[in-house]
Symmetry: C2
Subunit: 359 residues, 2 copies
């Protein structure tokens, strides 16, 4: 026990935090003490169960990081920006899930299935985890990149509400808003006349820029950070994918669209490779890649959907097709749980990789 590193989990009361505690309870146990920290004043002072032990939730303070080897941050950009440097100053390696440090050249951006060795070079003692949209497809695309050499990606997303905070920053605010909207439209004949859904939803749009029930909304995330018409999240998918794959010149564009799904993101991906590919070879690569499940037999009803993959860990890949007029291009449809691999799981995996390297 004494040799094993101490982990602090920062942000344990949100949806991602509670999933993280599940993983820490289920995975091979590499940790000595696990210390639970939270900034939400209602919850600090409470207790949560991790590894079967009732564990106090302590308030987020500088002293709370004393003796901590690895600090896993599962909080907002604002809290990460404020507290990650404090944890580093107190001697911890920070594993951060927020967007704050992802593109910092002195911070590695890690997906353990693809670039686990990157955790070692961390001049700021911070390791970052990509955003949920990038994570929903990158394990599969990284596997195909290794096999065939990616040249270009065109991505259109079908993103769930669970990745969206409330307008006031409330955890899972997107889910609450979508559920309220679904109750307003169920049992009606809405969706057939101009503006009828918008009128029925009224000011219950929540964090979304338009009604989401009976609709799809081609803008995700805040207006801040947009550039030349691209949303910050579309630009982030581009920059994060390039960084994780170590391909700073990869051609990649994304269109991010919110859909009325509670949890699990989907991506329609057009991928061009350096060399010719076949569906059979792509199937072989995907079927043997860690963290990926190939589920591709439409005739038997086998293709991934968010409602089917929610609550599971892998990246699910189906609808693999080769472009009829381009033997170097594939189309794929990919689904992954944005709270698990897209949220808590990748960050926990990074923390475990840091622990292995510390001991």
């Amino acid at each position: 026990m004494g040799d094993r590193p101490t982990l602090a989990v920062v942000g344990v009361t949100g949806a991602v935090g509670s999933v993280a505690l599940q993983f820490l309870s289920q995975h091979a146990d590499v940790w000595g003490e696990i210390r639970l920290l939270d900034a939400a004043p209602d919850d600090a002072g409470g207790e949560l169960v991790v590894r079967g032990e009732v564990t106090p939730v302590l308030p987020l303070t500088g002293a709370a990081f004393d003796g901590v080897d690895v600090a896993l941050f599962l909080v907002s950009d604002r809290l990460s920006a404020q507290w990650a440097p404090v944890a580093v100053e107190r001697g911890a390696v920070v594993v951060d899930r927020s967007a704050v440090f992802r593109l910092d050249p002195d911070v590695p951006l890690v997906v353990p299935e693809l670039n686990p060795e990157a955790v070692r070079a961390r001049p700021r003692s911070i390791v970052a985890s990509p955003g949920c949209a990038t994570l929903s497809m990158i394990v599969a695309m990284g596997a195909l990149d290794r096999a065939f050499g990616l040249r270009e990606l065109v991505v259109s997303s079908y993103q769930a509400a669970s990745a969206v905070d409330g307008p006031d920053g409330a955890d899972q605010g997107g889910v609450f808003a979508l559920r309220e909207q679904l109750s307003l439209v169920a049992g009606t004949d809405l969706g057939t006349r101009p503006g009828d859904v918008r009128r029925a939803v009224g000011d219950a749009t929540g964090p979304f820029p338009a009604p989401l029930a009976l609709n799809v909304v081609p803008w995700t995330g805040p207006l801040q950070g947009q550039r030349d018409g691209w949303s910050a999240e579309e630009l982030a998918i581009r920059a994060e994918t390039r960084k994780v794959l170590g391909r700073p010149d990869l051609r990649i564009v994304a269109t991010c669209v919110q859909v009325p799904v509670i949890t699990a993101h989907s991506m329609s991906v057009h991928a061009c490779f350096e060399q010719e590919v076949t569906v059979e070879r792509a199937h072989e690569v995907l079927a043997t890649s860690p963290g990926v499940v190939l589920f591709d037999n439409p005739g038997a009803g086998e293709f991934p959907t968010p409602a089917d993959v929610v609550g599971t860990d892998p990246t699910w890949v189906g609808r693999v097709r080769r472009a009829p007029d381009d033997p170097r291009a594939l189309e794929l449809f990919i689904c992954g749980d944005d709270l698990r691999k897209g949220g808590a799981l990748n960050a926990v995996q990074i923390a475990e990789a840091v622990a292995a390297e510390l001991s």
Copy 2:
């Protein structure tokens, strides 16, 4: 009156048929007699209002086409295959909305904003209208093709339920199934655990191969006609777009995805052109193209969504962006009502173009 051509509308009791009667009542009146025909025994013998006049609905027989100049078919593939040749034999020009004749080399496939002149060359006396998925984006893409020369299209769709018949072929069966599913999931906490939506929806999937409420389903249309993993609808978008644009070598791939929206299809489009494009030039072209509305100012909440465009006639285009690493590529998000331009409107426009050319 005597000089004006006689129109028969075949299939007047379905959703597309009733929208067609609205257009025939609102557009400049080019018709002499408008004869209403229907194969559904319950409805034949009834009456419907067109151009403000109560008009009998006659049963579909060979004799019903006597004296008809233009026969507008808004029925299933099966009925079109059976009855279109009968109407031609009786002397009518058939305008057909079904999939039966679309790719016949002796049948022009027409989008009046793009290739109205094609109605003239009709060796079989049949003119076809494209499918709703193709029609939801082709007016905009055709305008950009003329301006910049299309080289390649990558399309991911977000398709509404209203284009989907019931498992028994019932008109609007997709809408009924989606509404039932929405009632089953509203007010629940479904969508967070593996398979919970599938269990709740049970056998209420209707015509869809998986639950559609709280989900997206990466397969549209029947299993028949699939090839190398491509659905028949994905192949149809490819073939129809090439034929309408007169570009048999256009590189085009589509991924068709069903979303829980009642009416109006959306498309995320990646378009590569022969020459450099800018967002400003694309805006100019789109803003001045007939049948297209440019709606592109995300900072002001302006982007098309299906719930906002339902019940309107044009093709709505927003989210126009230039690829950062390809000055010849644009991304766009396009919405259109699958029952209007995607269904009745294009067919009525074709019939009107034939009428103009007959008189």
